[in-house]
């Protein structure tokens, strides 16, 4: 037993988090910043945070993750990090020559109260930022929210610094994809293009965190949203923000700044959420949904009808990020499965209500925990008390999966022990098909493994 000390009996905990279902803000900000073309993320704090964030992103994406740090020592912790940050700007522009430096804070710089916005302005005024180059920032104190909050804050920072309205509409639409994989961002672009629209997607990590092997290390790969596109977001017809937690804040900031209307939708994971996404774009942009998309949708529905018997009534436990879990839960319900236990460490007030409304007819007694002490230790205890057929969550779920002998489908962040997530989408109808394939394979492999010899099926 790997988690041999996890008791079945559930006791109240208010202060001790065990095996968290979230991590800290800056890593999200770093990931978002990598979705801008020519951008070097910068961590304002001591170098340890930056090393941890780079390592974790690298383990998940299996790609170079470049980022710099202000490298605080005790002195900077006492006297403030302004000198370090300005020194860092000068060194970074000279040595690594990015178009943009995207600064996020850490617990340390937040606690001492460094005003990064002010430091950036001062650096500008003193000519420490070369012409044509940019520095943007956001605040990411880790004692508030989670990695998703940090992602959201950096995307909002992009709007704050770059969005401009020229007074002329450019006929494009903005899509804020939320915390999804490079493959998902590619898939969202493909779907929207299929509808005849050229979107501005920001951030966009496709091309950056799934770059090809060429024998050369390209420090700033081809992908990423360009500065000119980020500026143009202010002239777009409307914005679709995917995910309340990760994307809404940036969408609303853009409305406030440039009067671009924003519609917040669930992440297009699964059938119905994708339907709403396609439908919304079709209505707002006045375009007809092309036959090709109807065909993709039909294929997905076809598989669901064909494989119903393997899905019906199967119980699932889930952990991860709120935006992802909401859409995923809805998808599982739509294929007649029973989400039974759900935790997310990322605080989000609307979470429990959303999940309950999605599941109320099927699992009225669902276990949900969100926020403080909503961790995988509790999830595991719930599973011990009420076993499930499937576990869906990040790599850390493998300990529970092994101990309880439940199949695990890796979904969310971080996934450090499998590949595929960066290359194959989970969003859209194609993504739903992939999820479905994984779920079915998990159940069928199980059935093949466990069936008696006389009932071992050739055709399934």
């Amino acid at each position: 037993m790997l988690l041999r000390h996890t008791p079945e009996k559930i006791t109240d905990r208010n202060s001790l988090t065990i095996n968290p279902a979230k991590t800290c803000q800056p890593i999200g900000a770093m990931y978002a910043a990598l979705g801008i073309h020519g951008c070097l993320p910068h961590s304002h704090g001591s170098q340890g945070c930056c090393a941890y964030h780079r390592s974790t992103l690298t383990r998940h994406y299996k790609e170079p993750v470049m980022a710099a740090t202000s490298a605080f020592t005790e002195g900077s912790a006492v006297f403030g990090g302004q000198a370090n940050l300005i020194e860092a700007f000068q060194n970074i522009f000279k040595i690594y020559n990015p178009d943009i430096i995207a600064v996020h804070t850490t617990c340390l710089s937040e606690t001492i109260g460094d005003d990064v916005g002010q430091i950036v302005r001062a650096a500008h005024d003193d000519g420490k930022i070369p012409t044509g180059k940019h520095v943007i920032h956001c605040n990411t104190p880790s004692y508030v929210g989670s990695h998703v909050t940090g992602f959201s804050n950096m995307v909002k920072g992009m709007v704050n610094y770059f969005a401009e309205s020229s007074g002329r509409r450019n006929g494009r639409i903005n899509i804020i994809p939320g915390w999804v994989e490079p493959s998902d961002m590619r898939e969202i672009r493909r779907l929207v293009k299929e509808m005849g629209i050229n979107p501005i997607i920001f951030p966009d990590t496709s091309g950056v965190l799934d770059a090809p092997q060429t024998g050369k290390h390209i420090f700033y790969p081809k992908g990423g949203t360009t500065v000119s596109d980020l500026k143009n977001t202010g002239d777009s017809r409307f914005t679709i923000a995917l995910g309340e937690v990760a994307s809404k804040a940036a969408g609303e900031a853009l409305t406030a700044k440039c009067q671009v209307p924003c519609h917040t939708l669930d992440l297009p994971i699964g059938l119905e959420a994708t339907d709403r996404f396609i439908d919304m774009i079709s209505k707002l942009a006045c375009v007809e949904v092309p036959g090709s998309i109807n065909e993709e949708r039909g294929q997905l529905v076809d598989v669901i009808t064909d494989m119903q018997q393997y899905l019906y009534g199967k119980k699932v436990a889930l952990f991860g990020d709120p935006d992802q879990l909401i859409s995923l839960t809805e998808f599982l319900i739509s294929i007649d499965m029973r989400p039974t236990h759900i935790v997310t460490g990322t605080p989000y007030k609307g979470f429990e209500e959303r999940i309950r409304s999605i599941t109320k007819d099927v699992v009225p007694d669902i276990n949900i925990k969100n926020g403080q002490c909503a961790d995988m230790f509790l999830l595991h205890q719930w599973i011990k008390n009420d076993p499930v057929d499937l576990l869906i969550g990040n790599t850390y779920g493998k300990y529970i999966a092994r101990d309880e002998d439940i199949p695990l489908i890796r979904f969310g962040f971080p996934i450090m022990d499998r590949i595929g997530h960066t290359y194959f989408p989970s969003v859209g109808y194609k993504g739903a098909l992939r999820l479905l394939e994984k779920i079915l394979s998990a159940f069928m492999d199980r059935q093949d493994r466990d069936s008696k010899e006389e009932s071992f099926e050739l055709v399934m």
Partner: protein, 543 residues
């Protein structure tokens, strides 16, 4: 860059160094130039090490917390390691160092797969987090009833002034178990190294010497600075057992609280990773009279040497004999593997930029298969790790190191017992045994090779461009950038999820691993056939 390397691959190290520095602003250039030295075997040059990392430079380094909680305490299975701080630090150090452990029974304590955190919120940052910490300790105790709880401070904890040591004392008195704190806030010192030191101090103050139980066995040693990545410690444990040597404790791979508490009952400390743990070796010697020697179980020759050194220390004919037998048993397989792998690897170039001792130890393995190490350096070494302990008296202590507590250690009034008399030590020394000594990495590197402390990303890419090594050893942050350059990268922190590499068996694993890496077909497949020709060939259909 023509003067950097001539056509026959005789690199001009001075030109290479200039090339690495050229891109820097003047101030940075001045500082970095002292951390990049050209090895000279006659007169070991002075290297600048253990100094602050330059902001914006992109370094390999982590922080004090990582060195303390992650490296030293992480591999102990029965201490509840509780991170006091916001969630991130605890999350990132959760299982990622892959320290393996083997609890004796299915019900034995093993907290390693768990991550414990106080997950501090804004409220605690504003009003203080001691109350939450106290409650978290209570909750951990109620759930697990561990023997000991360690509390690890993160950056904001130090800033808001939570007194983790006071909380530890108080809760220890209430619960009646050993609870101790570590002031290992990330900003302390300049790298992980500060954290190692802090961990060593607290282990020494709060754990070592707490259990006087005597051991059977004639030859009792502790292994220090071995963290059981990829099962290294298992291999060494097995080897020692075959030789008849009793391992009292390993600091800290596959270790337990009680073993730490009992470690002062050994008769010799054998130190593997000098950087992370020499403090404990020194302190145990002062307090309990146990001498220490430097050993290395990475590399077949090094392993044989280490075993012989330990046997020579005890000076027992039977032990010496057994050790020789074990070595002889193993060496044939090693020789065959070396011969085979050499045919495909000899003459190839390697670089190692990692850790505080690994960048030295792993050079042995490359030499054994005929590979040349052209450049190496540490992520968080000190001058003594490069130049040898002889330079210790000349090292200037700067403000960042001065902030780390130095314990005043005295001989224990009751339990100090020199394991060897002055005469014995002298005889052993005369016969070549070096006590309390370490020669450092530079002494083992070739004339003219480059030694670089705290290498920056920019320096790394240029080095690879110039030398085109066949393999580059580093960590996860460097791995994929190096590989994108068409050069395989072997991770030496995590072993790329392979190993073990210690001992004879490990050496063979490593030879084979390097053989696979440098000779893998994929590196030749990076370019598509049509990208290999400089010009497009005339196309038939256009005619």
């Amino acid at each position: 860059m023509d003067n950097v390397s001539s056509k026959n691959n005789n690199f001009n190290p001075t030109a290479v160094k200039d090339e690495l520095l050229k891109i820097y602003p003047v101030k940075v250039l001045r500082k970095r130039s002292k951390s990049i030295v050209i090895n000279d075997n006659e007169a070991t040059p002075e290297i600048q090490a253990n100094v602050r990392t330059i902001p914006g430079i992109i370094s390999q380094r982590g922080c004090s917390y990582a060195g303390c909680k992650g490296v030293v305490l992480g591999p102990t299975r029965d201490i509840v390691n509780l991170t006091h701080g916001p969630i991130g630090c605890g999350f990132y150090s959760w299982l990622t160092r892959r320290n393996q452990t083997r609890p004796p029974t299915d019900s034995s304590e093993n907290y390693m797969p768990y991550c414990f955190s106080t997950d501090m919120q804004e409220n605690e940052i504003v009003f203080g987090g001691e109350k939450k910490l106290r409650m978290a300790i209570q909750e951990a105790y109620d759930l697990f009833h561990p023997k000991a709880i360690g509390i690890f401070s993160t950056c904001p904890v130090g800033l808001i002034g939570d007194d983790v040591h006071a909380v530890a004392r108080e809760m220890s008195a209430t619960l009646g178990i050993n609870i101790f704190g570590f002031s290992c806030e990330g900003y302390k010192g300049v790298s992980q190294s500060a954290g190692h030191h802090i961990a060593n101090n607290q282990l020494f103050k709060h754990v070592i010497g707490k259990n006087d139980q005597k051991h059977e066995g004639k030859f009792k040693i502790n292994l220090l600075g071995e963290y059981n990545i990829g099962g290294d410690a298992f291999v060494i444990e097995e080897l020692l057992k075959r030789c008849g040597i009793t391992l009292v404790t390993t600091f800290s791979g596959n270790s337990t609280y009680d073993q730490f508490a009992n470690s002062h009952m050994a008769d010799l400390n054998a130190v593997m990773c000098h950087r992370s743990i020499n403090y404990v070796a020194d302190m145990i010697e002062k307090k309990f009279g146990i001498p220490w020697i430097k050993v290395n179980f990475i590399g077949a020759a090094a392993t044989a040497k280490a075993l012989r050194k330990i046997a020579a220390y005890f000076g027992d004919a039977e032990l010496i004999n057994r050790v020789e037998h074990v070595i002889a048993d193993e060496l044939e397989a090693v020789r065959l593997a070396q011969e085979d792998v050499r045919t495909r690897c000899a003459g190839k170039r390697a670089m190692l930029f990692v850790g505080g001792s690994r960048a030295h130890h792993y050079q042995e393995l490359f030499k054994e298969i005929g590979m040349e190490v052209v450049a190496a350096g540490y992520e968080f070494g000190h001058r003594d790790d490069y130049e040898g302990r002889a330079v210790l008296p000349t090292i200037k202590v700067d403000a960042d190191s001065r902030n780390i507590e130095e314990l005043d250690v005295e001989a224990d009034p009751l339990r100090y017992e020199p394991r060897r008399t002055v005469e014995q030590i002298e005889t052993l020394t005369n016969s070549g045994m070096e006590f309390k000594d370490y020669d450092g990495l530079m002494n083992d590197m070739a004339e003219g090779s480059l030694v670089i402390d705290d290498i920056s990303h920019s320096e790394m890419e240029q080095l690879i461009d110039i030398y085109k090594p066949s393999v580059f050893c580093a960590g996860i942050k460097e791995k994929y950038a190096v590989q994108k350059m068409g050069v395989p990268c072997k991770q030496l922190h995590s072993y790329d999820y392979g190993g073990p590499y210690a001992g004879f068996e490990g050496a063979i694993n490593y030879y084979r691993e390097i053989d696979r890496i440098v000779n893998s077909r994929v590196w030749a497949l990076i370019k598509a056939p049509w990208q290999k020709y400089p010009e497009l060939q005339a196309c038939y259909t256009t005619a």
